[in-house]
Subunit: 426 residues, 4 copies
């Protein structure tokens, strides 16, 4: 039976149109709904609506509820949970709904789920940083740097992989900002306008380790909150996409700077000789999807007035998928970095003399020639330049820079957030 | 076994990362793959690779193939079909793959599927037009017209619903343009660069009722082609969204111009009195999704060079879902229009005197007063205006205009496309 | 003075916030406003509000109005025009506004402008098609075809450039669909709900060569109509973007398949040896912008109810810029195609033996070997393959195909639209 | 003369295609280019390329450079500045370019500009918070709360305006995250691969109050960095858009909860009685634009490999405009809040009995009735409910909550960032 059933049967087409696939997606959310429900029981106890003994019975039932099945008839995990509790506890199962609405349940579960998955995503990100640092350490090689898609100046593997690593740490900084915004208590907002039960929202905030309580109406601005959660994912995917695009170029036969073992590449159904880097293409493609999901969530919320709108229901799938895709891509890139080979010969061959023209101009500058004149003088004699075989000593920024300390510092910050400690800047 | 298997086992994480959910989506595509395969068999027969008898055996097997199950191990329907044909026909089942690649199979099936679903979508659209025309005929009522979200001038139910109807017919015009672009033969493009088997692409075009043959490389520009297919859907959803937004406003208690019976509305889990128009909200929300899907497809294709990229695989889901959502929404709006009630009293009450100020100014103009002066003179005496009770005779554009003839003309054009006749403008 | 002035001064901050830059953009629209105004005068004449003599005076004044200056105080060209006519014609200049609102004027001018610029864009597109056909004729060369960014099979310059050309003709098909939708009369819609003056909308439609009259409310759905106009531009830009991306890859030193003379490339401020293909990068970037503009227009209209909203004002700039950018890019690509050189040696060198593996497998298939077995047998002996020096005779689809006839057919269709003839499919 | 001039004249069409409108936009950036150039001079001094005396001359010239004119021939402010310095200082003016490229100059100026404008935006945001807090304090009124666009439960002006205020403070949290990411030194990155001059990047970081130095390649990932800067703006605009959408609904005659004085509204050119809330519509529309600009920036960067691409040039305009629009909208909303009137009578009238159904159900719950039964019992007797006239005491969350302390805490954090102090969490 629907939570809002009023006796009039719903048109069958309408039913299938409105239910959607929440009953599938909610498998993910159920444990978080249980956790929020346990906390809500404590708030009801404080108002005197539930007794201590009743709360304990509810806690016990919630333990068993983790594994219940969510059926299409339930519409979502919240109805499934309520039916389970009522079947198990009778009238007590009904009382637990006092002072909540389904939107309150959805937002409580989604907030807890999102908070947890931001932490997990940050954990995967830090693992990838470890891998990138190791790869750069093992491959202190010169390679060409490109601008306008043309060979331009000497670069190096550590400089390139350091750019991915620093980019990820910046992404983590944005993720922590999103975490702080998300991490506020939605419980007690009911349908978006609170209740007259006098529920103690500070109590449930404390219980669930939230940093403060969110305004009831703001809790219901779900697309905005989900946009906050997806925001760092879009930045992570931008970083991974740049990495994938670089590797897709540099693994072409025409470059050959990097390669992956056969177990990480695929073949063609019609061309026996092909070795395809599908994983990299799919990371690149999933960046498009994650941006697409963030965009969908924005579009679902745009121009709506305050208060719940049914449109918000459709934000669930893009959010769940964006997290799943991003975490998969982080793990896949970690695997790639651990299996990737660099080819020093191919890189050396590509370091043609003209790449050192700017350096030569700089030498003239040091000897007192104005830059513009040095530039013209070098341009006139490009062929005479000779090419160094390894990382050029005076270009020390091309050498391996160890990010171990910085990664560790971020890991500590990240773990502190995860332990429910008050985050540093609030 | 993978179509491209080379003996090296694929890393298990990579396998699950690359497979995706094509094996689920491809249930839709399988019949179209069968149809294209039958046609390809004829082309092979013409080159002498298959005999007439072999083609007949293949045809018989393809009849039975419609219902085969697609397993995760298959990756997609194309492998499932090839395995089925090989199990059934032995070596002959293998020969059918000559001169094709998986991309060729995907594009052939997708093109046929898309063509068919553009036709179905157009059919649903025309049914909704019928419903809108009927509703306008039954409800020839005056109502206020709004600008800047403020009551502005007299409008009418026929004028408003006529605006939806005309908008849909324009959307159908765009759909027919998309149909013409889609409706060209991809068979024979193989991996995007054709084959040396001398397959007769005109023959298969004729067989499959395509209007001409598409350049092999262009066939592989899949995201662009899918963008063409989704384009008319985004316009249809814009029209439905405007209609849903209007009805969501005009069903508010503050207006009460329209209402739906209880069987088409839902209630609240916490507020016993609520009557919510969730269907309309979900139509509005699905417009956001369909736009989002079109955007995903664009993003998946952007800035890629010619030739197949694995990114393209991920266009399948947004395309299939966009068509499903759009057709659902058209059907749902058809249902709404058949059940919607208009409230003449509420509309009459809202037709307050100031709405007739511009009309009064026009009368003065007819008497020779320059418009700007008429405007100021009316502005000074707003209260004296009296309100007519029904559609004002001299505002004849507010009366019911019968679109029956125009709908029928479009229906004939549409059916002509569907019968594989050459479409008019090519 | 504002057209809607009521005596209360507008807050100065509000004034600058609301005016925007229409007064700059409207330079483009003024001639179209004049043309629509002349037509409106005829409709007023028919109702008896203007005499024949007055209409002639207005026509004469409108001739001179083409060059008037639009000042910031005017807000837009419509006010500038009205002030000019009033200064010139006195009361008669005021009368011309009878039965119109500013939205009517905006939509009339924008519709005429858009119609004209769709035609011009199509003209540029056809010129580029001429250039592509010529380039393909002059350069009948084999080159490698890529899939997954890896060399895959033999392709050719005519096949590649034919793919751009066919893509553009498909884009033109979509442009013609958009033209048909746009090409309906907005005059007489006033503020979106018509007037009681009994203006003859068929008359003005005939005068302005529109195919039919658009529903008043639908006229005001401006973002949707502008989305129709921008739609073909996004497809044209997708085609140009693919072309730019291909050329940016194939002009890299690592490929060297194509090059442009120095006058079409730029240098670097720090690297004397650089030769950068900025034009191609900027075409690629402008594709992003044009997609962005189309997206802005969508966002500006999303979820709004029927009737004018001030939001619509902001659609003007993205529309004007999208047309300007697209036409520039078409012209720029025309220039590139006329100056581009292909390097047969670089292409021949890149046609390595393994690209012919699929062909070799096909030969075995013709000899009766099942495709999968042929595939495995070839995969085992890749090195033995020998490479042909020019376009392989049996791969006839790689030869130059002359699109002259098809281009001419489209050019005729296009010119017919431009001459105000009824377009073929309606 | 172009910085990269090589003697070959650039095709004139190409020139106008590539220059763009940087020379106009760069008026904004010039002072920041001067500041970065002064800092770079210090780094050159440390390497011995410049003497103390030369640096002092450069500093003096840079003082005067603030007001130089940027011409179309200059292309951008960087060339204009170099020409000015060369004209003033001769060879010394040329030397200042040593170890920089135009991209380095662009990123240095853009980073400083963006950092400063994030601070200003935050300042405007905090002023609006002050205004919202004041408005809520002055208008402690009950009003209906809506869900699904239907009246649902009692809400209040302080609850609603508190939801805007809290949302803005969360947006500020995200802005601070963006600030931390932006606030790292790009100087010394040259063309993206550093230089061999041994420039001390820590020194210039210190000079310019950056928190650390950014990897050279990462500096060039300009679209990503600009996306970081625009990110908080999109969230601010989401908040303002919700506020504008609410007010546009609640100022309709059908509601009448709020109104603005005539000086903040506009009229109609055809309907003398109209009072339009154009400012609110334009805030809503500018939210669409700012989202569009962020999207453009994303699209400009998507799928590009590491290293500078000319595409990046086109990110400048959307970034500059997004900041200008957001700051204008914040200021405009501040004005609106200061002039807005609430109508207690209209609100009281709209608080119809059924809105108290959930409260009544809660009372029954407190008396021990299970929630679902209470719900059904209330649903059966809706008409008997009586309506309280003011904020209901037991719904204490509807009362005014003073955010003064929280706003002040954020203002201090914000000012600390602005003073170049190390921000708290790094």
């Amino acid at each position: 039976m629907k939570l809002w059933d009023k006796g009039t049967p719903l048109h069958s087409l309408v039913e299938s149109f409105t239910v959607g696939d929440d009953y599938l997606l909610d498998r993910e959310l159920l444990p978080y709904d249980c956790r929020a429900t346990a906390s809500h029981a404590r708030a009801l106890e404080k108002t005197g609506i539930l007794t201590r003994g009743e709360v304990e019975k509810i806690d016990a039932a919630l333990q068993d509820a983790q594994g219940i099945e969510i059926l299409r008839e339930h519409e979502d995990c919240h109805t499934a949970l309520e039916e389970f509790l009522t079947a198990r506890l009778g009238d007590l199962g009904k009382k637990i709904h006092a002072g909540r609405s389904r939107n309150d349940q959805v937002m409580a579960a989604l907030t807890l789920w999102t908070r947890e998955h931001l932490l997990r995503t940050g954990g995967e990100l830090l693992s990838l940083c470890d891998g990138l640092n190791e790869f750069a350490r093992r491959n202190e090689l010169s390679m060409p740097g490109y601008t306008h898609m043309q060979r331009a100046m000497p670069s190096s593997v550590p400089l390139l992989f350091g750019s991915y690593l620093e980019s990820l740490l910046e992404d983590l900084e944005l993720l922590h900002g999103a975490f702080r915004v998300i991490n506020r208590n939605p419980l007690g907002s009911a349908a978006g306008y609170g209740t007259s039960l006098g529920l103690d929202r500070e109590l449930t905030a404390e219980e669930l380790a939230f940093e403060g309580v969110r305004n009831c109406i703001l809790v219901q601005a779900r697309p905005r909150l989900m946009a906050v959660a997806l925001m760092p994912l879009t930045f992570i995917m931008k970083t991974l996409e740049r990495m994938a695009s670089d590797l897709l170029l540099f693994t072409m036969e025409e470059f050959g700077f990097f390669s992956l073992p056969d177990g990480l590449t695929t073949g063609s159904s019609i061309m026996p000789q092909k070795k395809n880097y599908d994983i990299l293409e799919l990371v690149r493609a999933r960046s498009a999807l994650v941006h697409g999901y963030a965009h969908e969530v924005d579009m679902l919320g745009i121009r709506l007035t305050s208060g719940y709108h049914r449109d918000f229901q459709l934000t669930k799938r893009p959010v769940l998928e964006a997290f799943a895709e991003t975490m998969n891509c982080l793990a896949m890139m970690r695997l790639i970095v651990s299996e990737l080979s660099a080819d020093p010969d191919a890189m050396r061959k590509a370091l043609t003399p003209e790449l050192f023209a700017a350096d030569r101009a700089c030498e003239l500058v040091k000897q007192g020639v104005p830059f513009r004149e040095a530039y013209r003088s070098v341009a006139a004699g490009l062929d005479e330049l000779s090419v160094p075989g390894s990382i050029i000593p005076e270009r020390c920024h091309l050498q391996f820079r160890d990010y171990r300390g910085e990664i560790d510092r971020y890991r500590k910050l990240h773990e502190a957030l995860g332990e429910g400690k008050k985050s540093p800047s609030r």
